[in-house]
Each structure stands twice: as C-alpha cells, then as structure tokens.
C-alpha cells in the first residue's frame, strides 16, 4: 500500500470531479458497508456532531466562567475533568483534562510533537497547523518564534511553559482576562476567548477591538 495512498489526488479526477482520494475513500466505505461493519448513518451522525456541536465555543464558555467565578476557577484548576464535565463537555479526547492558567509572568502553550493530541470536547477537532510539521517541530525549541508568527510578543520576563501532550492528559489554557471586562456578561466574555488563546498561540481579545 505504501506510496499508493497519496500524491496523485490532483491528476486523476473522474468525470464527476471526484479526486483520487475521494474515490479511494468511497471504495473503502462501500467495502465496509458490504461487510456489515459500518452503518453509514452513524458516520453522518459523527460528522454532524464534530461540525455542529463540539468546537471552541465550548472551551470559551468554560474560560469565561472561570474568569468571572473564582470558585469555579479553583475547581477547574484542581479537577478540570469534573469542572468541565459539569458544563456538559466530556468524553472522547477529553477524558483526563488539566487547565493551565496564564498569569502576568507565565504563558502556557500546548503542542503534540508526536501526533495531534488535542482536547476535543472543549476545542473541537484541531486546525491543520496544529497537526502539521512546522508547529509540531518548532513549538518546543522556538516557542517565542512560533508565537511571533501568530502575532504574539511576550515580555522577556514572562516564562513560556510548553506542554507536549505525550500521554492521554489533555490541556486547556485559561488565557489572561483582558482589561476593562468587569462589566461583561458570560456571553460577552466568551466572545473574547479565541481558539488560539486556549491553545496558547494567541491572547484573548480586547473588548475594544473584538468584533
């Protein structure tokens, strides 16, 4: 199989416009349905859940609540799995959660150098860059250079703490709460929490610049 599963996707479109990969995947799905191993309606359901229900808005609501509610934040830092589950986010690729709090002196950033480990229940499926070689290779050796590519420059005195997700522990960064947000509701706060700020490659938005 080696060498036959990639590389030719842009050269063999059939008359319906399906790429080489699309045809191969379709063939495998048909085979597995023939075998009785797969119910295609279950595939549709899986896709629907990860496209519509599970995504970074989940994590943003966790962070917003942690910003506003000190007791919840304390629980989140002590037992993230339980605190996050209490908001309805649990399960696959979030079975063992740890929350990391950014402060004025510590900035946390998460990577998976070996594959693509990512906290699905709170952030959804990872973006392409998170799973790709440039980020996986450089985050641990050049975190400030990587942050600069995301437009983030931290003071020299800030310690960058990288978390390489080598086991089944999944990490959620609690970004620094922006200034002048004391009056905001949970929903308005959550709108400031970007996906990248919960990975650690970004900062939370300022209420003055947020859309």
């Amino acid at each position: 199989m080696a060498g036959n599963d990639h590389g030719d996707d842009h050269h063999h479109d059939d008359e319906h416009g399906l790429s080489g990969m699309a045809l191969k995947v379709k063939a495998l799905e048909s085979l597995l349905i023939d075998k009785g191993y797969i119910d295609p309606a279950a595939l549709d359901r899986l896709i629907e859940i990860y496209e519509k229900n599970i995504g970074p808005r989940n994590g943003a609501s966790v962070v917003a609540r942690a910003w506003r509610d000190p007791a919840f934040k304390a629980w989140l830092l002590a037992d993230a799995t339980a605190a996050i589950a209490s908001m309805g986010f649990a399960g696959r690729q979030g079975e063992h959660m740890v929350a990391l709090e950014n402060t004025e002196t510590v900035h946390n950033m998460v990577v998976c150098t070996l594959c693509s480990c990512y906290p699905w229940p709170v952030l959804g499926l990872p973006p392409v860059w998170y799973k790709s070689a440039p980020y996986r290779s450089r985050a641990v050796i050049d975190p400030r250079g990587v942050l600069a590519e995301f437009g983030v420059t931290l003071p020299k005195s800030t310690t960058v703490r990288l978390w390489d997700s080598t086991a089944e522990i999944r990490y959620l960064v609690i970004p620094l709460r922006p200034q002048n947000t004391e009056h905001l509701s949970d929903d308005r706060l959550a709108a400031l929490v970007t996906r990248d700020s919960m990975i650690g490659t970004g900062l939370a938005l300022s209420p003055d610049t947020a859309p």
Binding site: M1, A27, L28, G36, A42, T113, F150, R161, S165
Partner: protein
C-alpha cells in the same frame, strides 16, 4: 520508534501558516475518513495506541508528504487488514471477497453516548509511585523499536517531576497486544537550557510514564 513522526526540535518545515476561519474539514472525503476511523474504532478491534502506531509506521517519505487525513486513511487500512477484518485483496479491489468477521456496527443513535463516555485510560495502582513531586529525574536514553511516547528530544535529559497523575495504560505495551500494563504517569518539566543549551527561560513539560524515567 525513532520515526519521522517524532518531530520535536527538528528543523526545515517552514512557516506555520495558520488559516483564518478554517472549516472543520476541507474536503468531503476527510469527513468520511474521520468518521470511518471513529466508527471502526468503536468495534474495539484495536486501541488508540495501536492506531497511533499504524500511522507512525507509514513509510517516512509517505508520512511527510501525506495530509493529515491521508495518514488516517493509510492507518485505517493497515488496522483493518492487521485485525483480519478485510484482506489486502479486498482493499485493492474494493469488493468483499469473503464472509465478514463478527462486528456490531456503531448505530447512529449510540454515537453521542459513545463519544460522551470516551475511553478513560487511568487504572488502579498496584504499586507505589517511584518518584515524588519535586524530585529530579532523567529521561532514559532508550530507543524502543515499537511504539513509544518518549520523544527523542528529552532522552538523557534531566527534569523535575511537577505532577503525579496516577497510573495509566502504558502505550509501549498496549500498542502491541501485550496488555495495558498500567504505569505511573508524571508530568516532567525540562528547562530550555537543559534541552537546547539556550538561556531562554522556557520550560517544556511532558507526560512521561515511569519506565521512561530514572533517578537523577
């Protein structure tokens, strides 16, 4: 294994190029590969460590030139074949040539609960932890031929235990049908100076199982 998947600290891959407003999937076939992988995983003919190993043993040139879901597709074919669920001839022809193995397909009405349940990897401890919080340890300089989660860039390096997580399924064993063999799992903090010889004040934390560590 010392494979190309073990990327920490390597160079030459270029800029990170994040895409703004990125969709969850870029192509329709990516949706199907993702869902096929999860649905077949629910049959429990393999585990997460087996599937990671299937992907990291894709030949290096192919690994590096594949997109993420191309790798998942290659991995899924290997897993299906290795588990005896389909033959290589069936994969090649796309046609079922033999009666199936008994597999109960994942039902659409069960998907949400299967995902919500997840697969916890913590296990009861049968022995006390060898290392304690704050202790100095060294990542062993070992080169496991099969699956391992000890990246090359920390081997031989000294770090500090900063979290003790309890005992967890040990991937080096679980990936190869040798059972779960639960082992203590720690977060070990390494300074950038220890890993890279730099004076940047960064700290790199990794989750490492006890057999990866020795006293320092």
């Amino acid at each position: 294994m010392n494979g190309v998947h073990d990327m920490g600290g390597t160079a030459g891959f270029g800029p990170i190029s994040p895409q703004s407003d990125e969709p969850v999937f870029h192509e329709h076939w990516e949706r199907r590969v993702f869902a096929l992988t999860l649905a077949m995983g629910a049959a429990r003919k393999w585990n997460i460590d087996t599937s990671r190993h299937a992907r990291e043993t894709v030949p290096p040139v192919q690994y590096l030139s594949s997109s993420y879901y191309q790798l998942w597709f290659a991995g899924l074919r290997k897993l299906l074949s290795a588990a005896g669920l389909v033959g290589e001839d069936e994969l090649a022809s796309g046609t079922s040539l033999r009666p199936p193995t008994a597999v109960t397909p994942l039902k659409p009405e069960d998907v949400a609960s299967v995902l919500a349940r997840g697969t916890p990897y913590a296990r009861p401890s049968s022995a006390p932890a060898r290392f304690r919080l704050g202790e100095q340890v060294r990542a062993r300089n070992i080169h496991v031929e099969g699956h391992t989660r000890l990246p090359r860039y920390v081997r031989g390096r000294r770090g500090e235990i900063v979290r003790v997580h309890g005992t967890f399924v040990f991937p080096d064993s679980n990936a190869h049908g040798r059972g779960e063999d639960p082992q203590w799992l720690y977060t070990v903090a390494f300074t950038a100076a220890e890993l890279w010889g730099e004076t940047d004040n960064a700290i790199v934390n990794l989750d490492l199982w006890e057999p990866y560590l020795e006293g320092a």
